[in-house]
C-alpha cells in the first residue's frame, strides 16, 4: 500500500550499490519512466536493478538526474562536470537510460 505512493525509488547497480532517489528525478530518464509507469515488477516494488551500470557510473547518472531536475527551468545553468575518462562509458549508459 504505502509502497505505491512512495516518492522514492531504489536503483541498484550491478555491483550492489543501492541509491534511494526521488521519483521525480528518476522520471527524467525515459527508460526509468517506462519501467515505473507500467505494470512490471519494478513499478510495484519501486526498485530497479540496473545490470549494465556499476556504482560509480550510476552515481554520476543520478547526479545528472538531479542536475536536470534542478535546472530544468533556469537558464543560467552551470556546466555538468564529467570526468574525461568516464565520458564514453557514461555515453553508453545515457544512451541506455535515454537521458
Amino acid at each position: 500500500m504505502s509502497e505505491e505512493v512512495s516518492p522514492y525509488v531504489t536503483l541498484i547497480s550491478n555491483d550492489g550499490f543501492q541509491f534511494l532517489i526521488s521519483k521525480d528525478a528518476a522520471l527524467v530518464s525515459g527508460t526509468l519512466k517506462g519501467m515505473l509507469n507500467t505494470s512490471f515488477q519494478e513499478s510495484s516494488t519501486n526498485t530497479i536493478k540496473l545490470h549494465e551500470l556499476d556504482g560509480v557510473l550510476l552515481e554520476k547518472v543520478i547526479e545528472y538526474l538531479y542536475y536536470n531536475l534542478k535546472y530544468k527551468e533556469s537558464v543560467d545553468v552551470p556546466e555538468f562536470d564529467i570526468p574525461t575518462e568516464m565520458a564514453l562509458e557514461l555515453l553508453v549508459a545515457a544512451d541506455f537510460l535515454d537521458v
Binding site: 536536470n68 543560467d76 545553468v77 574525461t84 565520458a87 557514461l90 553508453v92 537521458v99
Partner: protein
C-alpha cells in the same frame, strides 16, 4: 571642521593667525582639543569645587567620586549629541511637513513604520519609501526586508537579461534553449578529447553518427579520428568533412568496412583515383554513394568505377562539385546502372557541357524516386523538353524533384511535365527559376487531383511569382505541407496573407521561410501563427515590418526580426 569644533568650546575664541605647529598640535586641534579649553575646564572645575566646599550641601550630587574632568567631558558630549539630535529632528520635521506627513510623528520624535505601523526611533539607516500613496520611513526590520527585496529584484533582472541573451542566441541556431541531455554532455567531452580516445565502443549508431557530425563540424575529423568510426558491422558511413583525411586513410574505409551500403564523403577533395579503384573492388554491398567535391577523379576513373561490379550494383549516385565529371562519365554511369537508379544527383557539374548527353537521361532512367539536377554549367542545358521527357518515364515513382538554378526552365515543364505525370511527388524545389510565373504555377496546382499534396516546397527566389501562384500552391497542399520556403518571392502582397488567413489551414506546417517577403508584417505573423498550429520556426529576415509587437503563439519561434538582436 576643526574651526567649528573650536567655536563650540566655551572659549568662543578664534585663532586667526597661527604659527608653525607640530603634528601633535594639529591633530589635537583637528580633534577639537585645545590647551585653552582644557585650561578653562580645569578652572571651572576648581571653581565649582570651591563653591561646593563652601556650600557643603551638595557633596553627594555634584562632587561625586570621579574626577571632575571626566564628568565635565561626558556632560559636554551629551550636550553636543543632544544638540545634533535636536537639529536632525527639526530637519526631519521640516522635511515631513513639506511632505505633509507630520501626523505620523509624535512630539518626542518617534515614528511609525509605514509598512507595519510599529513605533520606532528613526535613524540614518531608516529607509524612506513611497508606498500606499504615502511617503514615510520603515522600521529597522522592514528596512532590512526592503533592502533584501530590492537586491533580489535586481538579481532577477540580471538573470532575466541573461536568459533573454541565451534565448536570442539559441534562436539564431533555430533551437529552443533547453538543458543539454546527458548524452550531449558526454558527446561534447568526447569530441573535445577525441585525440585521447582509442576506441568508441558500443555507444550506439545514433551517438556514433552524432559524434561524427560534431567532429566534422569542428573540423577535427582526421586520419586518426576517422578510424574510430570504422566498424566492420557498419552499414552506413558518413564523413561530412574529409578534407583532413588523406588518401591512405580513405582506403581504410573499404578495408575495414566492406559491408557498407551507404557511403557519404563530403568535401572529399583528397579522394584519389586509386581510392575509387579500390572501392570498386571492395564495396560489394554498396548501393548508395554520395561524393561532394571529388575533383581529383578524372573521366577515365569515373568510367572504370561505374563499369565495375560495384558500379553496376548502384541504386543511388549523388555527385556534386567537380568539373572532371564529363559527358563520357555520365554516359558510362547511365550505361552501367542507369536502369536501376532510384536516386540521382547531378549538382554543379561544370564538366557536363553537352546538351545531347543530358538528353540521354530519359532513355535510361526509369524508376527514379529522387532526382536532383541543379546549377548546370549553362541554363540552356536543361530545358523544358528534357524535364517533360524525364517526368514522362519516371513521374510515376518520383518523390523528390530538385531543379534549383535550372533557370532555362519555364512554365511549360510544370504544366506538361509535372502536372500529368507526378502523382507521388512530395518534395519540389525550384530555387531561382526566374521564368516560372503565376499562370504556370496556378495551372499546375489548380485541380492537380492526381497528386495528394506536397510536403516540402521551395520556391525561393522565383522572383516572377506573385500572389496567385503562391495561393494556388498553398490551396492545393495546405493539408500536407510540412516545410515551405518562399524566401525572396518579393511580389507577395499583404492581400495574400489575408486570403490564406480566411480560407486555408496548415495542420502540419512546421517550418516556414518568408525572408525578404517585405509585405510580411506583424498582422501577417499573427495570421500565420493562428492558421498553422504546428509551426515552430518562422524566418523573417529582411522583413522590417515584422517587430517584437507581433502577437504570436508562445511556441512559435520567429527568427530574423531586427528587434531580436542580442
Amino acid at each position: 571642521m576643526s574651526r567649528r569644533r573650536g567655536r563650540q568650546t566655551e572659549t568662543g575664541e578664534e585663532f586667526q593667525v597661527q604659527g608653525p605647529s607640530s603634528a601633535l598640535t594639529s591633530f589635537l586641534r583637528e580633534q577639537g582639543i585645545s590647551a585653552e579649553a582644557i585650561r578653562t575646564r580645569y578652572e571651572e572645575g576648581l571653581r565649582r569645587q570651591l563653591e561646593e566646599e563652601a556650600g557643603g550641601e551638595e557633596v553627594e550630587n555634584g562632587g561625586s567620586d570621579e574626577s571632575d574632568e571626566e564628568i565635565l567631558e561626558g556632560e559636554e558630549e551629551t550636550a553636543e549629541i543632544k544638540r545634533i539630535r535636536e537639529r536632525a529632528r527639526a530637519k526631519r520635521r521640516r522635511a515631513q511637513r513639506e511632505d505633509g506627513l507630520d501626523d505620523d510623528e509624535k512630539a518626542d520624535g518617534n515614528n511609525f513604520c509605514i509598512e507595519c505601523d510599529r513605533e520606532f526611533v528613526i535613524s540614518v539607516y531608516s529607509k524612506r519609501i513611497e508606498k500606499y500613496g504615502r511617503i514615510g520611513y520603515l522600521c529597522p526590520e522592514c528596512t532590512t526586508n526592503e533592502i533584501k527585496r530590492q537586491r533580489l529584484t535586481k538579481r532577477n533582472e540580471i538573470e532575466a537579461r541573461k536568459r533573454r541573451k541565451k534565448v536570442a542566441a539559441a534562436l539564431l541556431d533555430k533551437q529552443e534553449f533547453k538543458i543539454p541531455t546527458l548524452q550531449d554532455c558526454c558527446i561534447n567531452v568526447i569530441s573535445k578529447n577525441i585525440d585521447a580516445v582509442d576506441l568508441l565502443g558500443d555507444i550506439g549508431v545514433v551517438n556514433m553518427k552524432k559524434i561524427g557530425r560534431i567532429l566534422s563540424k569542428n573540423r577535427s575529423l582526421d586520419n586518426r579520428t576517422m578510424a574510430l568510426f570504422l566498424d566492420p558491422a557498419m552499414r552506413e558511413i558518413e564523413f561530412w568533412d574529409c578534407s583532413n583525411i588523406d588518401s591512405v586513410a580513405l582506403n581504410k574505409i573499404a578495408a575495414f568496412c566492406p559491408n557498407v551500403e551507404r557511403l557519404v564523403l563530403n568535401m572529399c577533395g583528397r579522394l584519389h583515383k586509386d581510392n575509387l579503384n579500390y572501392y570498386a573492388q571492395k564495396f560489394t554491398n554498396l548501393q548508395y554513394i554520395y561524393l561532394n567535391g571529388a575533383f581529383l577523379i578524372n573521366d577515365q576513373t569515373w568510367q572504370d568505377f561505374f563499369d565495375s561490379p560495384v558500379g553496376k550494383n548502384l541504386k543511388g549516385v549523388h555527385i556534386k562539385n567537380t568539373h572532371r565529371f564529363t559527358p563520357d562519365s555520365l554516359i558510362s554511369l547511365l550505361d552501367n546502372c542507369g536502369n536501376n537508379l532510384e536516386e540521382l544527383t547531378l549538382s554543379r557539374l561544370d564538366g557536363l557541357t553537352s546538351k545531347s548527353v543530358y538528353d540521354l537521361l530519359p532513355h535510361y532512367l526509369r524508376s527514379l524516386k529522387h532526382l536532383e539536377i541543379s546549377y548546370p554549367n549553362k541554363e540552356e542545358l536543361i530545358d523544358d523538353e528534357l524535364i517533360i521527357n524525364l517526368m514522362g518515364v519516371n513521374g510515376e515513382s518520383l518523390e523528390t524533384l530538385i531543379l534549383d538554378g535550372c533557370s532555362g526552365l519555364t512554365d511549360t515543364f510544370l504544366v506538361s511535365g509535372v502536372k500529368p505525370f507526378c502523382p507521388a511527388l512530395t518534395k519540389l524545389s525550384l530555387v531561382m527559376l526566374d521564368q516560372i510565373t503565376d499562370s504556370g504555377v496556378s495551372s499546375l496546382f489548380n485541380d492537380w487531383a492526381i497528386n495528394g499534396g506536397l510536403m516540402d516546397v521551395n520556391l525561393s527566389r522565383c522572383i516572377d511569382l506573385g500572389d496567385d501562384g503562391v495561393y494556388a500552391v498553398l490551396e492545393h497542399s495546405c493539408q500536407t505541407l510540412v516545410e515551405l520556403n518562399l524566401n525572396s518571392v518579393k511580389n507577395i502582397s499583404r492581400g495574400l496573407f489575408k486570403q490564406i488567413g480566411r480560407n486555408l489551414r496548415f495542420p502540419l506546417l512546421t517550418a516556414l521561410d518568408l525572408g525578404f517577403v517585405r509585405s510580411c508584417d506583424d498582422s501577417a505573423l499573427a495570421v500565420i501563427s493562428r492558421i498553422a498550429p504546428k509551426l515552430t520556426i518562422l524566418e523573417v529576415y529582411g522583413d522590417n515590418r515584422c517587430t517584437s509587437a507581433a502577437i504570436v503563439r508562445d511556441n512559435l519561434r520567429i527568427i530574423g526580426r531586427q528587434s531580436d538582436s542580442i
